[in-house]
């Protein structure tokens, strides 16, 4: 195990973490600011991936595909918000979970009806298909570098939006005390619709960017939802900053678990035990991290509400 290998794995952890952040950011915004548990976030991610894959295949233009995917998904989300989510803001979380779980089932069947059950082809844009030599001896997938860049850009953009703009101020006001904000003349309903659309746009962006390196198929939204939920729980529900830190933590821990744990165990344990234990421990590393954080800080690392 040399320095390049360790560096590469750190980069992998960073990349996976930022990937998770793209998905978790929208989820935590909607949950934290609107106090609404939206399990259908994964379905918006799936919608983004499907639309991007189809547009990319048809037009050959990846940037256009991402833009269309975001636009279409936001339109879908606006309809869903108007028809269903709007009625759930003041209901308890169980109702929200039930309703948004229903949306998942409908979304999966809708995708099946439109595109069929077979996974879709989603290719990497030709310019980014191969690796680039970061330095001697480390070819790194150029597409993953794009993902890392996109993740960092989204993080910065969200920071500026929430902390430096007027709409960001209204969002924070609505989140910290909805009633008071309303009394001060803030149209909270409009702010919430904006936040939901923003969350959808982030989910679609994540889906569109993930499509070239993962399977575009029914159920992809549910598969990614679990690590995303782990991230927002660790980060403190509702905190974008928390989601960022937690996503990087989870990405690092998960990657390190998979990369370093099995060989380390093989060095100290008999081979048959290590072969069983290594993958099992690597598989649960993320949950162990969550349990440890919750033991020390039950509200997560950066609780949004005091």
């Amino acid at each position: 195990m040399d320095a390049i290998f360790v560096f590469e794995q750190l980069l992998n952890g960073l990349g996976y973490g930022l990937m998770l952040f793209l998905i978790a950011a929208g989820l935590t915004l909607v949950f934290g600011i609107m106090d609404t548990m939206n399990l259908a976030h994964g379905s918006l991610y799936m919608a983004g991936a499907y639309v991007a894959a189809r547009v990319h295949e048809a037009s050959g233009a990846f940037a256009l595909a991402v833009a269309v995917a975001v636009g279409v998904t936001v339109a879908i989300a606006a309809v869903v918000e108007f028809v269903v989510i709007r009625r759930l803001y003041r209901r308890d979380h169980l109702v929200q979970v039930l309703a948004t779980f229903g949306i998942i089932l409908i979304a999966d069947d809708a995708v099946k009806a439109i595109w069929g059950v077979a996974p879709l082809l989603a290719s990497t844009p030709a310019a980014l298909a191969g690796p680039v030599d970061l330095f001697q001896g480390l070819p790194y997938p150029s597409y993953r570098l794009l993902l890392i860049g996109a993740g960092l850009a989204v993080a910065l953009g969200l920071y500026l939006l929430v902390n430096k703009t007027r709409i960001g101020m209204l969002v924070r006001a609505g989140a910290s005390n909805r009633q008071m904000a309303e009394h001060m003349g803030v149209r909270v309903g409009g702010v919430f619709a904006f936040v939901f659309a923003l969350g959808a746009a982030l989910a679609a962006l994540a889906g569109a960017l993930m499509a070239p390196i993962s399977a575009v198929q029914i159920g992809m939204g549910e598969a990614i939802l679990i690590p995303a939920l782990v991230v927002i729980v660790i980060g403190g529900i509702g905190s974008v900053r928390g989601a960022f830190v937690a996503a990087l933590l989870v990405g690092m821990v998960d990657t390190a678990g998979r990369a370093f744990l099995p060989p380390a165990l093989r060095a100290v344990l008999p081979p048959s035990v290590a072969a069983d234990l290594g993958p099992a421990l690597a598989g649960i590393a993320m949950y162990v991290l969550m349990a440890a954080v919750l033991t020390l800080k039950p509200a997560g690392l950066f609780p949004a509400r005091g």
């Binding site: 195990m1 290998f5 590469e8 794995q9 992998n12 952890g13 990349g15 996976y16 990937m19 099946k112 069929g116 059950v117 077979a118 996974p119 879709l120 082809l121 989603a122 290719s123 990497t124 298909a129 191969g130 690796p131 070819p139 790194y140 997938p141 597409y143 993953r144 993930m210 070239p212 390196i213 993962s214 399977a215 575009v216 198929q217 029914i218 159920g219 992809m220 598969a223 990614i224 998960d254 990657t255 998979r258 990369a259 099995p262 072969a275 290594g278 993958p279 099992a280 690597a282 598989g283």
Partner: protein, 388 residues
């Protein structure tokens, strides 16, 4: 009161008459994976069944037949419920369908107890090949045989060092053990991943560090799609990939596209296998389904109904005589899409296995192409444990 009794007796008689009229039909229960974890493969199997039913004119061995198709969502528990319904309400004569080994293992006992032949259209779990073999179970192949063929391919290609990768669950270990059974070189590393894993960057870095001659992967469905895309994107294009046919069939190829080119994989059937039955099947399939090539799942589904058809014909439609039906099934008189084969003592086939390579056809479509035979008249490793 008497009136009521008469009425109910009359109704009961009517019911019995209706049942009798129906009992003349041969009934086939088909449990489909149209939803759930294997839905893409289940849809392939459904297309194969439907083409076969069309070809047979809705009959089996010239007798009117009913093909009862139901989705069970890939869930063994639901498969059990469906089979109970097939047995009790419909009184089926044959069963087939499930894609997963877990469902096959779940429904077997009830079918065997009811003396209903189960012709598997996909999985061949080791339990049914060995200790739990049963005269009512007929397999298309034994799960490990694809991997054994892949191990032989690695020997023939001269790969001295390979890295193996599979999900961390029982089937993943079985498949890697199958590969090691015939492979003679060194295994540099055996990587087990999370079931349903999305990101493979950490594993790909390990593979790059290990510098193997080739990588053998068993990663079904979405996992394989994720892995191959990321493997090629990560600059390991020069390292050959070997897989059992399940990890490199039409469903995966069409979703991955260009990065699949050159992937070596093994199967007991390929769409360009030259025999009249197969040529006819592939042409009919492509005509019915918009030029798409059939996968091995579609081919096996089609083949399974053809096997039932031949058995019914061989017993002259007397399917009540189960002994005769079993005998007919065991000595198949139909032209299988895979060519010649025989059943071993455990009702698992002794057949040829082929090497396929993902390439482009004359129209530039990415698909599997036959390279050659890898294992001739190969029998599974479990037959010795079968006492039947």
């Amino acid at each position: 009161m008497l009136q009521m009794k008469k009425l109910s007796v009359a109704l009961a008689l009517c019911g019995a008459a209706a049942l009798n009229a129906h009992a003349a039909d041969i009934k086939v229960g088909i449990a489909l994976d149209l939803s759930g974890p294997f839905s893409a493969l289940g849809a392939e199997a459904r297309d194969g069944f439907e083409l076969a039913i069309e070809k047979l004119g809705g009959k089996l061995g010239g007798q009117p037949a009913e093909f009862i198709r139901n989705d069970f969502g890939g869930n063994p528990e639901q498969a059990n419920q469906l089979v109970a319904r097939f047995l009790q309400r419909d009184g089926i004569d044959f069963f087939t369908g499930p894609i997963g080994s877990n469902a096959a293992l779940a429904v077997g006992p009830a079918l065997f107890a009811a003396k209903v032949p189960y012709l598997s259209a996909n999985p061949g779990p080791s339990a049914y090949a060995g200790e739990k073999c049963n005269p009512y179970f007929f397999a298309q192949y034994q799960n490990d045989t694809y991997d054994e063929a892949a191990g032989k391919v690695a020997n023939e290609k001269g790969y001295r060092n390979v890295v193996l990768i599979a999900p961390n669950y029982p089937a993943g270990k079985d498949h890697l053990n199958g590969f090691k059974r015939l492979y003679k070189g060194a295994v540099k590393d055996e990587i087990y991943t999370k079931l349903g894993q999305i990101d493979y960057a950490a594993e790909i870095a390990q593979i790059r560090a290990a510098k193997p001659d080739a990588v053998f992967f068993f990663l079904p469905g979405a996992m394989g799609i994720n892995f191959v895309k990321q493997f090629v994107g990560g600059g390991l294009k020069e390292v050959p990939l070997i897989a059992p046919g399940f990890s490199a069939d039409e469903d995966v190829i069409q979703a991955v596209g260009e990065p699949m080119l050159g992937v070596l994989n093994t199967a007991h059937w390929t769409h360009d296998l030259q025999n009249p039955a197969n040529t006819e099947f592939v042409a009919a399939f492509r005509q019915k389904y918009a030029g798409r090539y059939p996968s091995v799942y579609a081919a096996m589904a089609y083949d399974t109904l053809m096997a039932m058809d031949a058995a019914v014909r061989d017993v002259g439609g007397k399917i009540e005589d189960r002994e005769a039906v079993l005998k007919a099934l065991k000595n198949p008189s139909f032209k299988s899409l895979r060519g010649e084969f025989q059943y071993g003592a455990n009702n698992f086939p002794v057949q040829n296995y082929y090497l396929r390579e993902v390439g482009k056809d004359a129209e530039g479509r990415i698909t599997n192409k036959l390279v050659g035979m890898t294992l001739e008249k190969h029998q599974d490793a479990y037959v010795g444990a079968c006492k039947m």
